[in-house]
Symmetry: C2
Subunit: 233 residues, 2 copies
């Protein structure tokens, strides 16, 4: 086995039995911290929902609010497909997965190749957000997830925009976090045999130089909150 320590952690922030949901508050600070970290490190999530009896997985933007109506925090996401399904099945349960790829793990055998990553899987029954104030905060949270700090530079949302916005709210109650880090785990024989390079190639999301909209007034310089993006996430 590789002498380099690789680490795979898995934490459930709520009971794994789906039939009885126990509101346990005894969550370790590190579990909650891991969840918050994953949610802060991505810009899109994948929403799983049942449509006409079959599963659909749809990429969508999301935002997080820890000052909202849910004690555990709230995930907001654009969810027009899910919202339509919710109309037909108000008890609809969804799954939202946020994944951050951190590295390619190249082993000496095909079998032992892997990825370094962090992921959070959230489950629950969402509600459609209908109240304007919350819709506005949700839209702001989503904008700020895409570009940190941007929402305060924008004008207020109009009533028409809020009416046209379909947002689901999912409390961050039932979540599990998984992660892998570290080097490849190879069989001793493969390590001894040598002859093959093994290691990790780090992966990150790179943001390039911003491109102004071609109808932008020329004298508007790229603002700091956009320049700051190149620092990466």
């Amino acid at each position: 086995m590789s002498s380099e320590t690789s680490s795979e952690t898995s934490s459930e922030l709520s009971p794994t039995e789906r039939t009885t949901i126990k509101r346990g508050r005894a969550r370790s600070r590190s579990d909650r911290a891991e969840l918050v970290d994953v949610l802060a490190s991505a810009r899109i999530c994948h929403l799983g929902v049942t449509v006409d009896g079959t599963v659909r997985v749809l990429p969508t933007v999301y935002g997080v609010d820890f000052d909202g109506p849910d004690l555990d925090g709230t995930l907001y996401l654009h969810g027009s497909v899910a919202a339509r399904s919710l109309v037909q099945a108000p008890d609809l349960e969804i799954c939202v997965t946020v994944t951050v790829l951190d590295g390619l793990v190249l082993a000496r055998s095909g079998f032992n190749h892997s990825m370094n990553y962090r992921s959070a899987v959230l489950l629950g029954r969402p509600r459609v957000v209908t109240e304007d104030a919350e819709l506005g905060r949700a839209l702001d949270a989503i904008v700020d997830q895409v570009v940190e700090g941007r929402s305060k530079h924008l004008r207020s949302h109009t009533k028409k925009e809020l009416a046209a916005t379909v947002v689901l709210a999912l409390p961050l109650y039932e979540a599990s976090v998984k992660a892998r880090s570290g080097g490849p785990e190879d069989d001793d024989r493969d390590v001894a045999a040598g002859g093959v390079w093994a290691g990790v190639v780090p992966v990150s999301e790179c943001l390039g130089e911003s491109i102004a909209a071609d109808d932008l007034t020329p004298e508007i310089a790229v603002p700091q909150h956009v320049l700051a993006l190149s620092g990466g996430r």
Copy 2:
């Protein structure tokens, strides 16, 4: 509206009615080309499957084989959770979504913020791969999806490894591709009002300098197929 052309395309590579699957071969070359492009441009997918009656979305690695048993091409993916569900429900349908984020679209209003992306949603009934030769090709395809051209530098898979490998095969038959590109689409009034920077921040997956496993024989240099990764995808 922004004078810059933004483009949103959506193509179905198969009929949208789920109840009757018609094997239509009249697919435009560009639709197929788009699907192939999306699948070639990512390293992980999100697998949607129903487990005990509820949806789960799980990130996983995948590989693609156009020379396999399916005319349309085959997506192979690690699917131990799904495979266990398949044992109980052999007609289980899954959804596999591959998403590539290309840009952050910053509009003048929160409402009009968006993402540039390419995504493919595949549906169907997978089969568990059981035959050794196909398992080996599937593992190779998965390794090569992570690092192009790597599988041929590795030793053969052992029988024990193949026996321990759980891979699902999904024909690339029922697929839809969606994409957005271009600048923000703002309301005329917001464009005229000015005062807010708007544009696109390109996003790509960056691969950093490779880190050798700490038990690697020092004289093995980083091979070309690993150095080539820094060119990005």
